[in-house]
């Protein structure tokens, strides 16, 4: 009977244990203080209950020592909780090196998943255990929030922006995937499953499903179809900058200032090219808003990420089925 009545969520990622430890500590602390307060109140209320209507207790004005006690002790406790919880949080924000990358687009009311190896899924996400997985999230309409309770991860998917989160599954299994940010009529229907598999099984899954086009390849195709190439060529006289080796590098902008070319910057360069103009170029690049979907932008992004700096130019886009973590060090601040 109790299988259908769980009282505690499954713990299936590396951070789950850390979150639960924090939780249990706080539960213990809360139990202590709640019982302390309830105990004090009830004890005094019974011990000093009114025995005759004309009772008149002695006045007590207060005590500085006590005030300081119950200011400083809680203060110490909360500072401790803050430091602990901030550490856990920082670990969640900071994506480890060489993760497996997956793109996720929220759309009312489904989750569209795009593996860098070409597989596409809807409301399903297959991942291997033991590998850090980085999700790049965005939305085509309103705000959604990607939530897998068993992994203790949650991150809002915002329209017009990228947000990343990561996790590393520790236990094979099927886990709930929820949309946690209210997004309209079928908010509660925007759910699915995350399937965590042993790496070997995962390889089999990758091989088994008819893979779609690898995003980087799709991106390359788009890069030609949308005529990006006409401006972005590797020759010196090109109208636009060479994009090889761009990802992760530091770009000098017109009017001074620099920006690190991360996902967000490249996305912005495509939909809002004039927001940040590269030094030495004219703001002539047209916006592609409305012409490319979020999926396609992610494909373009994958393609641009796959373009290595000239020295290592030969590296091909990751082949279907390869789990090869990408070469860029995306964690470098």
């Amino acid at each position: 009977m109790f299988s259908g009545f769980p009282l505690f969520p499954e713990r299936a990622s590396t951070v789950a244990g850390e979150v639960d430890a924090l939780y249990f500590f706080l539960v213990g602390l809360s139990a202590f203080f709640a019982l302390l307060i309830a105990g004090m109140v009830l004890f005094f209320a019974i011990r000093y209950r009114r025995r005759s209507p004309s009772e008149r207790p002695q006045a007590v004005h207060g005590s500085l020592a006590l005030e300081l006690t119950w200011t400083l002790i809680p203060l110490g406790i909360v500072v401790f909780i803050f430091i602990w919880s901030a550490q856990v949080f920082f670990g969640m924000s900071r994506v480890p090196k060489n993760p497996m990358e997956i793109n996720v687009v929220g759309k009312r009311w489904m989750w569209k998943v795009q593996h860098l190896t070409g597989q596409r899924e809807i409301n399903e996400l297959h991942i291997p255990v033991g590998v850090p997985v980085k999700l790049t999230l965005t939305s085509e309409d309103v705000i959604h929030s990607f939530y897998v309770p068993a992994f203790r991860v949650k991150k809002d998917a915002l329209p017009g922006r990228y947000a990343a989160t990561w996790f590393q599954a520790t236990k094979p299994g099927r886990y709930h995937l929820f949309c946690a940010e209210y997004c309209g009529t079928k908010h509660s229907g925007m759910i699915g499953w995350v399937t965590a598999m042993e790496p070997a099984e995962f390889q089999a899954w990758l091989a088994g499903g008819a893979p779609g086009v690898v995003p980087a390849v799709a991106g390359e195709r788009l890069f030609h179809e949308l005529n990006c190439v006409t401006c972005h060529q590797a020759d010196a006289g090109a109208r636009g900058p060479d994009l090889a080796g761009l990802f992760g590098s530091t770009v000098r902008l017109q009017g001074g200032g620099t920006v690190v070319a991360d996902e967000l910057y490249i996305r912005e360069s495509i939909v809002t090219p004039t927001a940040k103009v590269v030094e030495g170029y004219q703001p002539i690049m047209p916006t592609f808003t409305g012409m490319v979907s979020e999926d396609q932008i992610l494909s373009l992004l994958a393609y641009i990420q796959s373009l290595k700096a000239p020295e290592t130019k030969a590296a091909p886009p990751p082949a279907a089925g390869a789990l090869d973590p990408k070469a860029q060090d995306v964690t470098k601040p």
Binding site: T136, K155, D262
Partner: protein, 111 residues
């Protein structure tokens, strides 16, 4: 404190002249490019904006102190105005600190 403090009209005219002058200055300065030196924690600061804001603040303070008699008002009134601007500062500064610190954590564009 219910007696009104009567300010001489001369002061009003002086303030009026100062305000006009400052308006002129701010318009003139806006036409010159003062550049954006890196003077704030290595960040670039557009000096034109700084100058325009400082002038606007000076003008506002003049209006508040003299036209609105706050220079001669009780402390409580001054406190109320002070509080309003402190709260405004909280709203602006704390929100902007979010935008300021976006992207500081490596590998994660969303934060």
């Amino acid at each position: 404190m219910h007696e009104q403090h009567v300010v001489s009209p001369r002061i009003y005219f002086a303030i009026f002249a100062a305000l006009l002058l400052l308006t002129l200055v701010t318009v003139q300065v806006a036409a010159i490019d003062l550049g954006e030196p890196e003077i704030f924690f290595g960040k670039r600061v557009p000096l034109n904006v700084v100058v325009a804001l400082v002038i606007a603040c000076v003008k506002a303070v003049l209006v508040i102190l003299f036209f609105m008699h706050v220079k001669y008002s009780p402390r409580l009134t001054q406190l109320v105005i002070g509080a309003a601007f402190v709260w405004l500062f909280i709203l602006l500064a704390v929100t902007l600190s979010d935008y300021w610190s976006r992207g500081w954590v490596g590998g994660n564009p969303g934060t």
